[in-house]
Amino acid sequence: MAIEITRPGKYSLVLSTPVLPAAGAVGFGDSYKALVDYDKLGAIVTNPVTVEARSPASGTRMIALDAGILLHTGLPNPGLVKLIRQQRKVWAKMPVPVILHLAATSVGQLRRGCAILDEVEEIAAVELGLADDMEVADAVRLVKSARMEKPLLARLPFYECYQLAEPIADAGADALVMTAAPRGTARDPNTGRLVSGRIYGPLMKPMILRMVGRLRRQIDEDVPIIGSGGVHSPQDARDYIDAGAVAVQVDTATWVQPKMLERIARDLGGWIATRHKNAFLDEWNPDMGHTEAIERRVSSDIAGDAN
């Protein structure tokens, strides 16, 4: 397969599989190397990076929700230059393209960041993270200022996606990622306080799938859309493709079931294998079986107290 996930032209990005991890899901480099076969993915997207270093959020960073989580990390990172120094060799060895997620802060920082990144050949493309609550004019200005000799993907905020999609496409983004996880508020059961952060879970998918479906019919068809939000199964990924996305990003599902990221990638990349009858659970795709020896349980006579 060869899937062009950015606007055709001088600097387009072509992947062999339309499945990527989302920014924030797999870290800055190869954190998942023991659990996921990177070779089967379309590309890697790094965690968000800022030009200046950022320290982690203090206080609660994670709250378990019903079928989901709230996360507020503060986007900790050592700053662009230091990160490149740390990760360059890892990126060079990656079997698939590396897309760096750059959090859009100010025009000045963005220009600096793009200039730096143009010199880093280990980075195949840049995904620009647009903050929530941004005015359309400001977002357009940021995208316009992020000119590079690499493809530029723009990741749209959730609540503003309908308003921003067309202006950002017109401003020159080579692809639109729909969307970043929405912000929300939940009560921390440990401290009793309301905490804000991003919301993740499978229920995001129907909302963002609708955005993708509708906006695909509205915006310039040269600009590919990448679906992101609630992709938890190969079927979820196929739904985004059917709705008009050229590729999908898999988010927190990777943490819950790391192999799922790979399975979705294999499935959409045409790697799917047939399940053998009576195969062990993780022999679904026979070459993915990891459990060497599950002894069948021998007795069920000692049951837990079920009262």
Binding site: N47, S55, R61, L71, Q257, D282, I294, I302, A303
Partner: protein
Amino acid sequence: MKETQAYIERVKRVNRDSQRLELAVDRSLSSLLAGQALLVRRIEKDYESEHWDPYLRELWFPVEVQTSNIVVVEQPAKAQFVPGQLLSIIGPVGRPFRFRRKLRNILLIAYQTTPAALLMMLPSLLTKQVSITMILMGTARQYDTNHLPEELEIVRADDNMTWPDMVMTLGWADQVFAIVGQGSELHYFGEIMKLIRQRRNDVPANYIFGVMQRPLPCGVGACHACILKLRGEQKLQCVDGPAFDLTTLRLN
């Protein structure tokens, strides 16, 4: 680290409050050492027809590796487990506890939590003739210890989080491992450090370790939700933990 699957082989009530689950696991987990944990999710026959509530994996610290493929965990008796239940496991997660080379006396402290994550070290330390004292403070005082090895000295602290001969115990110990209730770890560790500093002029490096058991979204160093600020650096609970030198951890 691997993503593997396991069965709950046996569910055994060990005392009033606790049950132990024997898990038939992938052989790679038989080399797991005290301090390392499993990230566990109950799954169903069909891996795809998964439910998503609860969402995250649970952090289970084994208490024993029985044979080449049986790992034992301790759970509150009130949690419902059924033999034959299938589990998805990511592990081992984290680094083994590091003990002093000439360890003779070790102090374990559990405050507002089950001490389960500290139990895995017991058999090997006892074999090496290490003397072990376990202090139970706060709600941990309710923890039923009937099933623990007899050689273990168990002390239940009083309402002020003190116990008889406290100064002596703290001097006697070559090393201390403390574990505290979830959600307010840094606060609880702060309380413990205050208690100790009041009774010991100098708390040396590598003397007291805090064992973190906050839930880990990814467990592999990707999400950065488990970052801890240490003096001069940042570390990840999942990759660098679970034990951190409490003299370097920023307890704010």
